[in-house]
Amino acid sequence: MEVKTASFEKTASPKATTVSGAEAVIKCLLEEGVDTLYGYPGGAIMPVYDELYKYQTQIHHVLTRHEQGATHAAQGYARVSGKVGVAMATSGPGATNLVTGIADAQIDSTPMVCITGQVGSHLLGSDAFQETDIIGISTPITKWNYQITKAEEIPEILAKAFFIARSGRPGPVLIDITKDAQFATLDFSYKKCSGIRSYKPKPEVNLKEVERAAEAMNNAKKPMIVFGQGVILGGAEEIFEKVVEKSGIPAAWTILGLSAMPTDHPLNVGMVGMHGNYGPNVLTNECDVLIAIGMRFDDRVTGNLEKYAKQAKVIHFEIDPAEINKNVHADIPVLGNVNETLKVLLELLKPNKHEAWHQKFKEHYKIEFDKIIKNDLNAERGKIGMAEVIDEINKCSQGNAVIVSDVGQHQMVACRYSKFNQTRSNVTSGGLGTMGFALPAAIGAKMGAPERDVVAVIGDGGYQMTIQELGTIFQTKVPVKIVVLNNDFLGMVRQWQQLFFEKRYASTEMINPDFITIAKGYHIKAKQVSKRENLKEAVTEMMQSKEAYFLEVKVEQEENVFPMVPTGASVSDIRLE
């Protein structure tokens, strides 16, 4: 095929040198500024690994213990650094093991390039050893994918891959390279991709749309902002905060929007959605103008769509035109990168305080505090609660740590209670809800932000889905902090069984191994704590550790996460108990 990129010159630059396809892959990665990648070798990708051996001083290959771990590590790296995460695997099972991480990156808009080896092109379609149609498999879960069968395609296709992964609404790209293309030679020259004629990364800002939005915001009596990851992906945190401060509008976040704005900011009113805060959920159905910024109205955010913000005029700031009117009708769509649209908006906004309206959020917070938060943080009896652990981490981190959470009850608690002063601090699997995400993602996060403390908060269920990545931590000595909140249950499923299936705890009780022994087997410092009076000291020791550290906290077994919007209910029917 002919690839139509804007400025890629077919004629080799004067510096063209003859290299193998495999070496060209590494050279492309270096050209794209890749210094770290995650992967697992195998037959069909061996030529590239052979080149990695030669280039090991320039590019750090992290050997994960499973290809899924490589994708999550690449995601963690991308989420904290804003750079493209790179994962590599062989054909067949190596490639299929990437699938969960690719799907996760697609739904959470994480820039990632996956490179897979493939059987020789003469064997394609012959059911060769370790042949699988990874292009077919990954098509619905990638932003783009492509199979390279000729070495000379490598520079242009990889340039395109990185451009697509990071531009516009980011996402995962998979490039499958046949083994013969890795062995064959080409005249290598590299030119970064700057455009593709059939691909428009972001819509141009339409001034009229922004003006309409500003007018609606200026005239609103009870406006509310819901912000998502688009603020972070657009690098718009600073301008966003100015918009919030100037307009005085209460700002609530989706799970992936968390940390785009400091959690203690006086205008930050908490999380929306299924286990979000009481105020922003209830008041979604009272506001007169709902301003959605870089978010996509996921069903976990909206609850029952028929009863979602029906009274409100909806303004939707969004980079992806396909998100407009997908779930919630936008009265005023504002297309574009929020970093650009919010800049224009800021100038048009009139300063306001909305004091009476803010008072309503405070009243609702008081109700939630008395009913839930107070007990979550200050339980005096019984086993340790999950929120108490997060609270201790906050006290040590002062809001400066990266918190990587897995999926389930602990994730909701971590997101509800973590304090953040900096952006790109909350790494979690939002859209796909991938158990097993956190441990490998924390490895990538620490490598993507080595100067920051990275704490993985994981349940006992999810921990055991990727527990083998302790081997990666041991081998690389990456100093991540791991907290397992162990209730010996698949807690979130158990909670649903309790509330909606009359306590029939089908396959949710976990008979767990001795996690301390396992950690020690990997020579990772480990401690278990089960008594409240020892918690502070244990968390402090972990937070001060210069090396990787594993802390198991035995928590209350049948704790439930509240507030909760039951499936099918309206956000304003959020339950406090």
Partner: protein, 176 residues
Amino acid sequence: MEKKNFTVSVYTENNIGLLSRIAAIFQKRHINIESITASRSEVNGVMRFIIVVQVTEDQVKKIVGQIEKQIEVIKAFYHTDEEMIYQETALYKINSAEFVDDLNIQDFIKESNARIVTVTPKFFVIEKTGKRHETDSLYEKLKPYGLMQFVRSGTIAVTKNEMPISNILEQFDTTN
């Protein structure tokens, strides 16, 4: 909202795998494709898919949004039957003995504006281009004579209004 026929036109680059990428968008939403064709378009090197689906307008809008998002899709549109000029082509293979013995068949062919493509001592092939009900009607008439084979193409269609694909491509060339 009422379900009706929509014709989705997709202008794309000519790449391997794009068909399955587009088909996957329908599959993910559990929507059956009534017919699909792909061919070169009026623009050099650009392919055009014509996909017919029975959905609500709200559904087709969202589908077109998702299709357009695909990297190698230049532009996608949807139209109702009223906004399109559309045709299908059918081929009917019939035993030659019947043709010679029964003059009715020759009348059917004439009446329906069908065309004889091939005649051999053993069989002959009739081609009919038109709307679905026209090819169906000829099918019903020929069925009693023992249709040896029948095949019908997907819908091909052009819109009554303009398709600004060349402009889109030119715009890219001038800004890059």
